[in-house]
């Protein structure tokens, strides 16, 4: 298929999967913010999600597909790009390329490692069996997600790990958001600077949103 062979086609696949993954990152934060409503907020949110039954698994498979496509082409394009530049310059100066644009492959692979850890932590719940929600029920016999989250982030190491991972996500999205719009052809010379700034702004808002949960827990503001 020419889409998966063509230079622009593969870039387009990166952009579309990236945009959908960005959509998930935004929705996931909105869901997480129910932790601020206390045990009833996040526990009923989690209960409602799980009651969707097979739809949860369809959603998970779609997410897996998006991640596989995004990483597969990300890695193969990166390998191809380094093969296209066999010799570097003795003296090199960047003018438009940024730290985040140059480290996309590293921040991307770090995020993959984080996603695996995160799933083991809160979905499979094998990193911290003691606080696993499926064993601890809340007052009205729902899995106690609130208790699991609060207890999980009481450990400084876990909190630090999550904060670092969210900074990595910030770096990835700082380049990624404007890159999506450029790739799908929705930018021009006037909009590109605005979109770049807005993309960094969105990445920063997501960073603040995500780290506020473990930080407020470790600060004792969100507690059981």
């Amino acid at each position: 298929m020419q889409l998966t062979e063509n230079s622009v086609g593969r870039k387009l696949l990166m952009a579309v999967t990236g945009a959908l993954l960005l959509g998930f990152v935004i929705v996931h934060l909105l869901g997480n913010s129910s932790v601020f409503l206390g045990p009833d907020g996040i526990n009923s949110y989690a209960e409602n999600l799980h009651n969707l039954g097979p739809i949860v698994w369809v959603f998970r498979l779609v997410m897996l597909g998006l991640i596989v496509v995004h990483i597969w082409f990300g890695v193969s394009l990166t390998l191809e790009n380094s093969a296209a530049t066999p010799i570097g310059y003795a003296s090199q100066e960047y003018r438009r390329a940024t730290f985040s644009s140059r480290t996309m492959i590293y921040t991307g692979l770090a995020l993959l490692a984080f996603i695996i850890y995160h799933l083991l932590h809160f979905t499979v719940q094998i990193t911290d069996v003691e606080f696993a929600a499926r064993q601890n029920m809340d007052a009205i016999n729902r899995p106690d997600v609130f208790g699991m989250v609060v207890n999980g982030f009481k450990q400084t190491f876990t909190t630090v790990l999550y904060v670092v991972a969210m900074i990595v996500l910030f770096l990835h999205l700082s380049h990624g958001v404007q890159s999506i719009l450029q790739t799908v052809g929705l930018s021009n010379d006037k909009s590109l600077p605005v979109v770049t700034l807005a993309g960094k702004g969105l990445a920063f808002v997501l960073l603040l949103g995500y780290i506020s949960i473990p930080i407020l827990i470790i600060a004792g503001i969100v507690k059981i």
Binding site: N81, A90, Q92, R95, Q178, G185
Partner: protein
């Protein structure tokens, strides 16, 4: 002014190549970068050594032949300036200057600073034209083209095909070059007819010629001596999407 030059020397395609140091003495600040190299070469010839090979032609910034990466920046990094229009007054006495050829797998070094840029011609051959019978010279305004469209196409047509975008790109991608050609032709009625076929075949040729893929670093625009905008890459992407659904 006196300068220390670190120049890439390579005795043909088979040679491994290395950086060599030369002293440029009594350089006039009014001379162009290429004139400075001419004088260094005269000195090398007087000493019985091989002069530094480099590409150049018009020396007035319009032909796209000169191709040197100076201190890590294609064409020396002065805004909208080719090497031949770069003057020694932009350097300081005692400066150490690094001069390297365009670096890309698609641009093999022929000798020293001269590289083979035929890969760009292969991309043009893949669709950078319109296949129409032009006949005699048409009457002015017989074919109506709006002023914004004409300006847009003209801005894209400013590309001189020097390859600085590839040299500056971290991925050695020729996407800015290709997008300038695609955008120019797709904007005009003569080029619109074959727009879908053109964008597909020209972008397919990029991989065949060993160019890398665009990852939106935008280093190409900063490197371009004609200031070709990355908005043309967005235009190429739009044309590609349109071609996919056609």
């Amino acid at each position: 002014m006196n300068l220390t030059l670190n120049v890439w020397r390579q005795n043909g395609a088979g040679d491994k190549g290395r950086m060599e140091q030369y002293q440029a003495k009594n350089v006039s600040p009014d001379s162009s970068f290429l004139e400075m190299l001419d004088e260094v070469n005269e000195e090398l010839i007087r000493e019985g050594k091989e002069p530094i090979a480099f590409d150049h032609d018009c020396r007035e910034g319009i032909c796209g032949m000169c191709s040197q990466v100076i201190n890590g920046k294609p064409h020396g990094g002065q805004d909208r300036t080719t090497v031949c229009q770069l003057h020694m007054r932009s350097f300081k006495d005692g400066d150490a200057i690094f001069i390297e050829p365009w670096r890309a797998k698609a641009f093999p070094v022929l000798r020293d600073l001269a590289v083979d840029r035929n890969a760009l011609d292969r991309i043009m051959e893949a669709g950078g034209y319109t296949s129409c019978h032009t006949g005699g010279v048409a009457d002015g305004n017989a074919l109506l083209i709006g002023k914004p469209e004409a300006d847009y196409a003209m801005d894209a047509a400013e590309c001189i095909g020097c390859g600085a975008c590839v040299a500056g790109c971290l991925n050695s991608s020729a996407m800015l070059f290709t997008s300038a050609k695609v955008a120019q032709l797709a904007t005009l009625p003569q080029g619109k007819v074959e727009a879908a076929k053109r964008v597909k075949s020209m972008t397919a040729e990029l991989k065949a010629q060993g160019f890398g893929n665009c990852t939106n670093h935008y280093e190409c625009q900063a490197s371009c001596p004609k200031g070709i905008d990355v908005k043309f890459i967005a235009t190429l992407n739009r044309e590609y999407i349109k071609a996919l659904v056609k």
